[in-house]
């Protein structure tokens, strides 16, 4: 029986091996097919990149093949285990394959049945089977009956493997890989260094924020700029170019606002004031009055305020001798006179009027000057506006100079007579009256002058407190200087940046859209020019940020009015238009054809285009109107 059992065991082993090979080979074919499909899909659409399939990785390919083999072996083994046959079943199969007439299976079955094996016929059957199994050729016949070989379609798996390797090797990777790009963008977003534009915007923000007055005025714009930088760093993924473009936009907007601040009447008045104070002559004696005059001459109102405090202490104290007090009072009176003189100096305005081709004498009469500017035919609107602003700023500066002169006079009086306090109140009242008169004059000029008159009123109410006036002057000065500085910083950065001209134009045009007025360029030009003068010509004259000049060309009308994009000859049609419905239908049909054929409609609008003209055509057809081509298209295409 051992011989029979060994034969059956051999048959069973070979049977399992064969089944394992077939099952594994089948699974291998499927997995190789899947690998091939993944490679092709990865190269063509790239969607599998999202699940981590790399584009060209030999390791991935080798790993996939190894995984396929392992998976096939495992599934084959599971399949064999699931379909594992008993020895009796295998013996029956062996009998069938070698044609033994169920000798071996019968013997195997009878050998385990004691009741049957006691039968002579059963013993005879077993003996027959053993004699049959003793045939030396039976082992070879068993091997032949249970071949271990690949299936008929063994070539499928190698073919798929070769195809997969070939696909991996030869199929090019398409550029458009949404998932890959997404990953790259994500990596870029996390690792991307900040662009120069973003850095400049950050620096500009820091600079602006250093001046609280300016930051308060530009609060909304600063917030927008901060949000832009924050989104570039932490928000939705953007390309470096997009981030740079956004930063440029914000910078351009800030520039616009800085230019407006620099061009404001407060800033201009502050500049005029400083220009005028620069002409002060310093007292010869070295005392507090000289310090004050020097600070005013340099436009350093902070230092001037300290000097005033020193003066007050000196005047109120008893350290100074009478002689010194007189010297000090004399110096203050001298400075006050100079300030009063400067407050009436029309030279600058006269020079401006002269440059504009107007009578310089008008600088002495503000009301006449306003009328003359308004009625001038030689000046364009921009020039008129610039002159009016200049006149206003000169006037404001002169007003401040006058106030300073009065305060100086008061301080001089205090120095002379330390106990005389009543004059202060009188002077203050006088100052208040004077300011009221000025306010009356300014009333016609509109609300712009309200703030300035308010300043004078305020100083008058305080009894001519020089300190407050200097504080305000210092505040205006700082804001003006900061605006100038920031504007200069941002413009200088833009000029030195590596952006192409087209990009810069694009950014500028985007910022221009958000700007309020259409003549921003002209304003900017003017203000820049003034700032250049104010800083003593240290800063280079610059027309616009990128050398772009916005100008409006005068068009010439020929043979008719321009009422649309087309030039219509003759008189412009007015009133109802009566056109034959057939002709309208023809025009629409022609337009539809042109839109579809000659001038392709954008892909995303084609459906709309077709639906719209299709509906129109239906409506015409419902009314029984045939399309009649317009006369101009009669001989057309």
């Amino acid at each position: 029986m051992d011989r029979i059992r060994s034969l059956v065991a051999l048959a069973r082993l070979r049977l399992l091996l064969q089944e394992w090979i077939l099952a594994s080979w089948f699974v291998l074919s499927i997995v190789f097919g899947v690998v091939l499909m993944i490679i092709i899909e990865r190269r063509v659409t790239g969607a599998t990149a999202a699940i981590g399939v790399p584009s060209r990785s030999a390791m991935w390919l080798v790993g996939s093949i190894a995984f396929a083999c392992a998976l096939a072996a495992l599934i084959g083994w599971l399949q064999v285990r699931a379909r594992q046959q008993t020895m009796e079943q295998v013996a029956l199969e062996l009998d069938a394959r070698i044609g033994s007439g169920e000798r071996l299976s019968t013997a195997l079955a009878l050998s385990v049945d004691e009741t049957i094996s006691s039968d002579a016929f059963a013993r005879a059957a077993i003996a027959d089977a053993m004699a049959y199994a003793g045939d030396p050729d039976l082992l070879g016949r068993t091997r032949e009956a249970f071949p271990v070989r690949l299936g008929n379609r063994w070539w499928v798996a190698p073919a798929l493997l070769v195809a997969a390797v070939a696909a991996w090797w030869f199929i090019p990777q398409r550029i458009n890989e949404p998932a890959v790009l997404k990953d790259a963008e994500a990596a870029l977003a996390t690792e991307r260094p900040k662009s120069p534009e973003e850095k400049r915007l950050e620096e500009l923000l820091k600079t602006v924020e250093q001046t609280p007055e300016l930051a308060a005025k530009l609060d909304a714009d600063l917030e927008t700029a901060r949000r832009t930088l924050d989104e570039a760093a932490n928000g939705p993924v953007r390309s470096p170019d997009d981030a740079a473009r956004e930063s440029l936009k914000r910078m351009a907007e800030l520039q616009q606002r800085l230019a407006e601040v620099a061009d404001s009447k407060e800033s201009k008045a502050s500049r005029e004031l400083r220009d005028s104070l620069a002409k002060l002559e310093l007292p010869k004696d070295q005392n507090a009055a000289r310090d004050l005059a020097e600070a005013l001459k340099q436009g350093d109102f902070e230092a001037a305020k300290k000097a005033v405090e020193e003066l007050k202490k000196a005047a109120a104290g008893s350290e100074l001798s009478k002689e010194d007090r007189e010297k000090l009072a004399k110096a203050l009176e001298n400075t006050a006179k100079q300030l009063e003189t400067l407050s009436k100096d029309p030279a600058k305005m006269a020079e401006a009027l002269r440059s504009a081709g107007m009578d310089p004498a008008l600088a002495n009469n503000a009301q006449a000057l306003q009328q003359a500017i308004a009625q001038s035919k030689d000046l364009n609107d921009s020039q008129k506006e610039a002159l009016q602003k200049m006149a206003q700023s000169v006037k404001d500066a002169q007003s401040q100079l006058g106030q300073m002169s009065q305060q100086m006079d008061q301080m001089a009086s205090q120095c002379k007579n330390p106990g005389q306090q009543g004059q202060k109140g009188e002077k203050g009242q006088q100052g208040q009256k004077g300011q009221s008169g000025e306010k009356g004059e300014k009333g016609d000029q509109g609300s712009e002058s309200q703030a300035q008159s308010g300043q004078g009123e305020k100083s008058g109410q305080d009894g001519g407190d020089m300190g407050q006036m200097l504080d305000q002057a210092e505040s205006d000065r700082q804001m003006a200087m900061a605006a100038d500085s920031c504007n200069s910083q941002s413009q200088g950065g833009q000029q030195s940046s590596g952006m192409s001209e087209a990009e810069a134009d694009s950014a500028l045009s985007a910022s221009a859209e958000s700007a309020k007025s259409g003549n921003g360029g002209g304003k900017k030009q003017g203000s820049s020019g003034n700032r250049a003068e104010a800083s003593g010509g240290n800063r280079a004259f610059r027309e616009t940020g990128f050398g772009t000049k916005l100008q409006k060309e005068k068009g010439q009308k020929q043979d008719g009015d321009v009422i649309a994009r087309q030039l219509v000859a003759g008189q412009s049609p007015v009133g109802e238009s009566r056109v034959g419905l057939q002709e309208v239908a023809g025009t629409i049909a022609t337009g539809y054809e042109r839109g579809s054929d000659e001038d392709p409609v954008p892909a995303h609008l084609r459906d709309v285009h077709k639906r719209y003209f299709g509906d129109l055509r239906k409506k015409f057809e419902e009314r029984g109107v045939e399309a009649k081509k317009p006369a101009g298209d009669a001989g057309g295409k």
């Binding site: 069938a96 007439g101 169920e102 019968t106 009878l110 049957i116 002579a120 016929f121 059963a122 059957a125």
Partner: protein, 358 residues
């Protein structure tokens, strides 16, 4: 009706008892070998008269040694009756022939009681046996008799006894009914009911003869020469052979195969063949499995083996099952007969043992 008296055998008496001493391995082998040689001689003897129907002869011998009855079906002139007559000649058995006709009465088959005067001058009812009281009965054209007459065979075939007038008369063993029927002449016939068909161990389809065989038939039957057949086996040896055949072993896998084969013919059953379920309206009975096993054992014995193989099952399956399954309307519409249905089931039946077989 003719009763043919068997001739006395010449060397039958010298034959050993086939089932004697078979508990010994060597004697069992010797008895089997002896039986095989006798069966071979019997086969050759029949072959002297019946030409070209070797399969039919073999199947008839299987039924003889399996102890079952045979229904021979074939068109007229194929030698059915000759086969049975030759078998009767080759066996030292009583032989009777009944030609079934529509007016045949049961009493004509089993016999009747008649009023007779005894030795004392009294009138008594005495049973006069019919032709069924024989050992080999040729029921020629059995489907021509009325169902009533056909049913007269039922008890005799199954119980091997006849009850007439409340008195049961045993039939001598062996008792073998060899019935014939013509499949094409259906007019004026009474198809055998299923219950009666089931009594036949095998239904043997008698095929047409080949060209060469026909030459031989003509040579033998159209000349004045006659081929004598001498008796080879007597009834006792046949019964011994039947007992010997039943000792052939059948392993569990083969037996399970037989069971699954029979169950596959049961539409709607757990082991029903899906396709056969559409082709069969009534499946084979357990008696079919018995028929297959006993016949397969005879075949194995005749083949010199002590065990039954699946090949034996395949060889006997058609003749054991063809009259026990009822083809469905769809099968008949498709022109499928029982033989094709059975062969289809065999082709689809797994050789391997299902998990739940043990």
């Amino acid at each position: 009706m003719t009763v043919i008296a068997p001739q006395l055998p010449g060397d039958i008496a010298r034959l050993p008892a086939f089932d004697a001493g078979i508990e010994n391995d060597d004697i069992a082998r010797e008895r089997c070998a002896s039986f095989r040689s006798v069966a071979l001689r019997l086969r050759e003897a029949i072959g002297k008269r019946v030409v070209g129907q070797q399969t039919v002869v073999d199947q008839t011998l299987w039924a003889l040694f399996a102890g079952g009855h045979v229904l021979l079906e074939g068109v007229p002139g194929l030698g059915k009756t000759l086969l049975v007559r030759t078998l009767g000649d080759a066996l030292h058995l009583d032989f009777s022939r009944i030609q079934f006709t529509p007016d045949l009465m049961p009493a004509d088959i089993v016999g009747t009681q008649i009023l007779m005067d005894d030795d004392a001058g009294h009138r008594v009812m005495q049973f006069r046996p019919g032709p069924i009281f024989t050992q080999i009965l040729l029921a020629d054209e059995v489907n021509r008799a009325s169902p009533k007459s056909q049913s007269a065979l039922l008890e005799a075939m199954q119980e091997r006894s006849v009850t007439v007038g409340g008195e049961t008369h045993r039939l001598r063993a062996p008792f073998l009914v060899l019935a014939t029927q013509n499949p094409i002449e259906q007019e004026g016939t009474y198809p055998l009911p299923e219950a009666q068909l089931d009594r036949f161990l095998l239904k043997i389809a008698v095929p047409s003869v080949e060209r060469a065989d026909l030459h031989e038939i003509l040579r033998r039957t159209t000349t004045s020469t006659e081929t004598p057949v001498t008796p080879i086996l007597d009834g006792e040896r046949i019964v011994q052979a039947q007992r010997l055949a039943r000792r052939i072993v059948m392993a569990l896998p083969v037996q399970d195969y037989v069971i699954r084969l029979v169950l596959a013919t049961h539409p709607g059953g757990e082991y029903a063949d899906p396709q056969a379920a559409r082709e069969i309206s009534v499946g084979a009975s357990p008696r079919a499995a018995q028929a297959i096993v006993t016949t397969a054992k005879v075949r194995a014995l005749l083949d010199g083996r002590f065990h039954v193989s699946i090949a034996d099952v395949h060889a006997v399956a058609a003749s054991a099952l063809r009259h026990r399954i009822v083809p469905s309307f769809e099968a008949e519409a498709d022109g499928l007969d029982s033989d094709r249905i059975v062969s289809g089931i065999i082709a689809r039946l797994q050789r391997q043992i299902p998990e739940d077989a043990s």
